[in-house]
């Protein structure tokens, strides 16, 4: 019995807290495309300033690389990131330095293709063969969005 109640309560609390902070901590900025919105959080500022000086500042904003194409998936990712970032931000429970999560790294990898599939058409298809792993753009172009 107790075993059921406790987690439930915790979840409830987390959700409540999450929703609260989502609003309070300007989590709503997730719904815009304005990079400055992301920089609302001081923890995002390093990445903002590193993006400002990157080769992509004038061609791609945060969401171009950190959300998948298509409205539904886009806001799905935003919702989850928005919730977790807000939650993490409020609880202060997050790694320093920040590390992109595997799922978000995949989102970003796909983002490259959104814009560059033409130039990479020749090198990309080879991956389609066998269990051969996909080609990772970030492996070589890690700093396109953020100059270190």
């Amino acid at each position: 019995m107790l075993a059921l109640v406790v987690p439930a309560t915790v979840a409830g609390l987390a959700l409540g807290l999450g929703l609260y902070t989502f609003v309070y901590a300007k989590g709503a900025s997730y719904l815009t495309n304005d990079p400055a919105a992301c920089a609302n959080c001081h923890v995002m500022r390093d990445h903002f300033s590193a993006w400002i000086v990157s080769s992509h500042r004038s061609v791609a904003a945060c969401n171009d690389c950190h959300t998948p194409p298509g409205l539904i998936p886009k806001y799905a990712v935003k919702a989850s990131n928005g919730f977790w970032h807000s939650f993490a931000f409020t609880t202060g429970r997050f790694p320093d330095p920040l590390r992109i999560k595997e799922s978000n790294r995949r989102v970003t990898e796909q983002a490259c293709r959104k814009c560059h599939s033409a130039i990479t058409a020749m090198i990309d298809p080879v991956e389609a063969h066998r269990g051969a792993g996909p080609l990772s753009c970030i492996r070589c172009h890690r700093t396109v969005g953020h100059v270190e």
């Binding site: 790694p95 590390r99 992109i100 999560k101 595997e102 599939s117 033409a118 130039i119 990479t120 058409a121 020749m122 090198i123 990309d124 298809p125 080879v126 991956e127 389609a128 063969h129 066998r130 269990g131 051969a132 792993g133 996909p134 080609l135 990772s136 492996r139 070589c140 172009h141 890690r142 700093t143 270190e148």
Partner: protein, 465 residues
């Protein structure tokens, strides 16, 4: 090429980046035919005839007067003239007659045919494995069975075997005709990599079905840029990897499994010595780049933009001639700074290599003198055992072609042990000792480093950190 076109079309919403004009199958050896479908790669591939020298690599184009025996009008510089100590190290072996700086892929077949090493010694068909497009030749000689054909051609005298090939390494040796995916066509590597994986506890490893794409990017090069020897009378090409890929693992292998094998008996000392050869793949596997998932083509065939397309630069060459594309995507330092970093690493390796060669030559000279003054055989044999080790270790780094860059600390470790073995040999000889100290240094990773994929998965498990 149907499959390939489909892939391109799916990706390109109909904009295929190339138009297959000819059909290519698993018998198409001539790169010119493949080139009709992939003109960019073919043009780049043909540029491997260029010769430009770097501080320790590239190659110098030396003009020569062609003669009946050797029609080449240009060769690479002689490494023997650059450092005549090599003649002493290899005394009594074909390498003491002719050893040149290696050059581009375009020359691999002619350089093998016309080297003086073919004149001073009779070579087996095995040699072709890495100097020609032998894939189809093997299949034909084996009536469809690659390995059977490989074994048949190994046993032929070189002059006869060479009649079965026409081209240097070609598209078909690295690519599957339908998909252009990378593949391994060389029996030496198929068996070699299986033996390493077995040593790591992975049974029946089949590289062509089990390797990741990123691994394949290095394995295709590892088909040839490796240490090898000809096992037994059937001259079977063998990569001495059963104990691991490190030079010290190979010593362990040559001290036990292949204790009876010697490439030749040293002319001055009578020691049963070994010739180490181009272990780029093995040394790279111990370095920080391999550990970081950086493959040979990342540096030697970096992507290059041609028109609206990015392609792998099939002009395989020294990255020092192409630092911009080869290094700067990952390292944001200036070209000059990156070259200096390579030179610092190479100069240090070169200094250590020289010290190790001097130590070896001192040992060789000591043994020679001991023979003259009639030292007892058991004592001489102990000293010869040390020479065998010391010489293989220093030759491993001398033969490796990056002058230590592929794994700088590991290269130094190998040279340090070479000097230590020379030291033990010199003192054993003077003390008249007949016992040979065991040799089993064991740090580093015996096999290939964790792949980028593995590292990623681990990182993921740790929650993105």
């Amino acid at each position: 090429t149907a499959l390939l076109v489909n892939i391109f079309e799916r990706r390109q919403e109909g904009r295929a980046p190339f138009h297959p004009v000819v059909a290519i199958d698993d018998e198409t050896v001539d790169p010119a035919i493949w080139g009709r479908n992939f003109p960019i790669q073919y043009d780049l591939y043909r540029r491997t005839v260029d010769q430009v020298r770097t501080r320790y690599g590239g190659s110098e184009a030396l003009p020569r007067v062609p003669d009946h025996a050797d029609p080449r009008s240009v060769v690479a510089q002689s490494r023997l003239d650059e450092d005549s100590r090599l003649r002493t190290m290899w005394a009594g072996y074909a390498f003491a007659a002719d050893f040149r700086e290696e050059r581009g892929h375009a020359y691999m077949l002619e350089d093998q045919i016309f080297t003086q090493r073919q004149v001073v010694a009779r070579q087996p068909g095995t040699c072709l494995h890495c100097h020609a497009s032998v894939y189809v030749a093997y299949k034909r000689a084996g009536e469809g069975d690659l390995i059977a054909g490989f074994e048949r051609i190994n046993r032929m005298p070189y002059e006869e075997a060479v009649k079965h090939v026409q081209h240097p390494v070609s598209c078909i040796d690295c690519h599957e005709p339908e998909s252009m995916a990378l593949r391994i066509t060389r029996p030496g590597f198929l068996e070699g990599i299986r033996s390493v994986k077995a040593a790591q506890g992975i049974e029946d490893y089949d590289v062509n079905t089990m390797a990741s794409r990123q691994e394949m990017r290095s394995f295709v090069c590892g088909q040839c840029h490796v240490e090898y020897y000809f096992r037994g009378a059937e001259k079977r090409l063998t990569y001495p990897w059963a104990r691991g890929l490190r030079a010290t693992d190979m010593i362990a292998y040559y001290d036990t499994a292949a204790a009876d094998h010697a490439d030749w008996r040293h002319e001055l000392t009578g020691a049963p010595v070994l010739k180490a050869q181009h272990p780029e793949f093995e040394l790279w596997s111990q370095g920080i780049h391999a550990r970081s998932g950086v493959a040979c083509p990342d540096c030697h065939m970096p992507y290059v933009r041609v028109g609206a397309m990015k392609v792998s630069d099939h002009h395989v060459r020294s990255p020092m001639l192409n630092v911009g594309n080869a290094c700067q995507t990952c390292h944001h330092w200036s070209e000059q700074e990156l070259m200096e970093r390579v030179h610092v690493i190479q100069d240090r390796t070169h200094e250590m290599r020289n010290a190790a060669i001097d130590a070896l030559l001192a040992l060789i000279d000591d043994i020679r003198k001991a023979i003259e003054r009639g030292a007892p055989e058991p004592v001489l044999d102990a000293a010869r055992a040390y020479q065998r080790r010391a010489q293989f270790l220093v030759d491993f780094i001398e033969a490796e072609n990056s002058m230590g860059f592929h794994a700088d600390q590991e290269a130094a470790r190998v040279l340090l042990h070479s000097i230590d073995q020379s030291r033990r040999g010199q003192t054993a000889l003077r003390d008249g000792r007949t016992a040979v100290d065991p040799f089993a240094p064991s740090t580093g990773t015996m096999g290939l480093p964790p792949t980028a994929e593995e590292a990623q998965r681990r990182a993921a498990r740790e929650g993105g950190r």
